[in-house]
Amino acid sequence: MTVHNLYIFDRNGNCLYYNEWNRKKQAGISKEEEYKLMYGMLFSIRSFVSKMSPLDMKDGFLSFQTSKYRLHYYETPTGLKFVMNTDLSVSNARETLQHIYSNLYVEYIVKNPVCVLGNTLDSELFSSRLDAFIRALPYYSPRAA
């Protein structure tokens, strides 16, 4: 059971934060290209999902899975996008991502007078609290599945 990595994007597509806990394979492209690829994919998939939905949509795109991992997506009303990759044992990470938003991002970034909205998240307090939170998750284990 594990969390592989986490991306946080702002509403303009800038990657504000990235960290990994358990990533065995890299994408083979630079980090900048990876962030652009991730954001571009999310943008397309959200639009696709809402267009092709046979019913009225409520939350929109939530997650996708492969045979090895699941990507979870949470977007705040302010346009912040949280993306977390976990293994398949985690079926729903929405609450986790909501917690990261309201208890970590809002507390340590929004309420930090030095952090300018739109800049990458440099606060050590934020990253250490986030790291502690991820490691304390019931589905996190240092030895990857």
Binding site: E107, Y108, K111, N112, P113, S123, E124, L125
Partner: protein
């Protein structure tokens, strides 16, 4: 009557952040780099604002209290009642030389807790202490004590306020 819900605290915190940012931007406008004189002006403006707020706050807080026995009594009131109403906790440690100098130590100062829990952003901390120093000075001034209030931080969010009571 004071309701301490989450919204109340956030309102003041955000407003304070913006006040500090505004004062520094105003001072800097058109100049590029800020020198120490500019920084001193900003600190002084913020401290002055805090002073007026402190004066008003203390009237409201001491409305129902009995009068104070002596200087130490006043400082204890600041450390307990005043600090609790304004910063939602008490001062952790009060020291004095019994000759008018007091050091108030708050180990989790409310306006620094979101900044960092160590050394990151330490050089920015003084900007966010000026207003509070003014508040303490204003509060004391309305109780009848003229003072000079300064603050120092070495490891966030712990902070020491030094009050030196001025003898006439």
């Amino acid at each position: 009557m004071c309701s301490s819900g989450m919204a109340d605290e956030a309102l003041f915190e955000f407003l304070h952040m913006e006040i500090v940012s505004h004062v520094y931007k105003e001072q800097q406008s058109g100049k590029g780099e800020m020198d120490n004189k500019d920084r001193a002006v900003c600190v002084s403006v913020l401290e002055g604002m805090g002073f007026r707020v402190g004066q008003g706050l203390i009237e409201r807080l001491t409305r129902d209290s009995p009068s104070f026995k002596d200087e130490l009594d006043i400082m204890k009131f600041i450390c307990k009642d005043f600090w609790t109403k304004v910063f939602r906790r008490q001062i952790d440690n009060l020291r004095t030389n019994h000759q008018g100098t007091y050091v108030l130590q708050d180990n989790k100062f409310a306006l620094l807790t979101q900044l960092s829990s160590g050394k990151q952003y330490l050089e920015q901390a003084p900007k966010y202490l000026a207003f509070s120093c003014g508040m303490v000075r204003g509060a004391l001034s309305n109780i009848g004590l003229d003072s000079v209030v300064t603050a120092e931080v070495s490891v966030m969010p712990s902070c020491k306020f030094q009050v030196v009571v001025q003898k006439l």
